[in-house]
């Protein structure tokens, strides 16, 4: 059901977290403990824009991921792979004046979801736009990962071109680059989920 335009709708504005939400060390997941984490150090950076191409400035980007062995430092993770005492796997930063973010981390390991299937290496991302309706939670993948072809969660995005936009470019030496384009809000809004 289409609804009448409402320029006053709360969803057209959104929270602005400010510098207190992310300190300089929060974007480096390899320096959150006394020692260095196991695994391959990588950087992941990119730009956040809206669908008109405008940079999303000063907004919060959050990530969470498994360690190099494929284990989350989360009580719900039953994967027997070892925890790394030097890796928590959560980070956050604010985008700069051009909408850029940058994280230093280790490449997450693949992990089993049951006895048969494995999740490819991925980093969970949470992003805020200037409007609450632009809220995005998604997952970033690494180029060339053979597990991508059979991953049901990655393939939950049916459109191959859209699915490809979840895969970063680059390599461990130059760093991985992953740009994000936030959707919405539309001029019209509707009752009923997508």
């Amino acid at each position: 059901m289409a609804l009448p335009p409402d320029p006053e709708a709360a969803e057209l504005t959104g929270p602005l977290f400010g510098p207190a939400a992310a300190g300089p060390l929060d974007a480096d997941l390899t320096r959150q403990h006394a020692g260095r984490p196991l695994g391959e150090p990588v950087t992941v950076s990119g730009r956040v824009r809206d669908r008109r191409g405008r940079p999303v400035r000063g907004q919060l980007v959050e990530i969470w991921q498994a360690n190099a062995a494929g284990r989350y430092a989360h009580p719900a993770d039953r994967n027997p792979a070892p925890l790394d005492p030097n890796f928590t796997g959560t980070g956050r930063c604010l985008t700069d004046g051009e909408g850029r973010y940058r994280f230093t981390t280790v490449r997450p390991g693949a992990y089993p979801v049951d006895g048969v299937r494995w999740r490819p290496s991925h980093i969970h991302f949470s992003l805020f736009g200037t409007a609450f309706a632009q809220r995005l939670v998604t997952q970033m993948y690494f180029p060339g990962d053979p597990l991508l072809d059979r991953d049901g969660i990655h393939h939950a995005v049916r459109d191959p071109a859209a699915r490809a936009r979840l895969i970063a470019t680059g390599d461990p030496v130059r760093g991985y680059v992953w740009d994000v384009v936030l959707d919405g809000p539309c001029a019209t809004w509707t009752e009923g989920s997508r």
Partner: protein
Amino acid sequence: MTTPPQTIGPYFAPGLPPAGDGPAVLRGRVLDAAGAGVPDALLELWPPFARAATSPDGSYALPVPAAPPPYLSLCLHARGLPHPLFTRVYFTRPPDDPLLTALPPARRATLLASPGHRFDVHLGGAAETVFLTF
């Protein structure tokens, strides 16, 4: 050319930005179509911003202002959902509100908080909450 959403999964680490505070509390449960509680869902309210995860029985508690605006926007992320769901929690019923006016009474009722600041989210079933797409 927008970036598609993916499920939040079970391992979101809350406690990321400050959870927000408020003198009053909104409480309720997130329920699936069969009426079972949905654990490890993440709820976010705006404005002001607040977030909380659900307990194993699907219950949540979110801080809200003592005198909230007529409604707060609620964004829900849960394991298995490919994208977030947006709804609204109405504390009062402004007679000229465009959304409430457009809804039939039974559907409208799913957006109204009860007097004790209780609000359940039904992801499906006969009492499914009204969800919005922007």
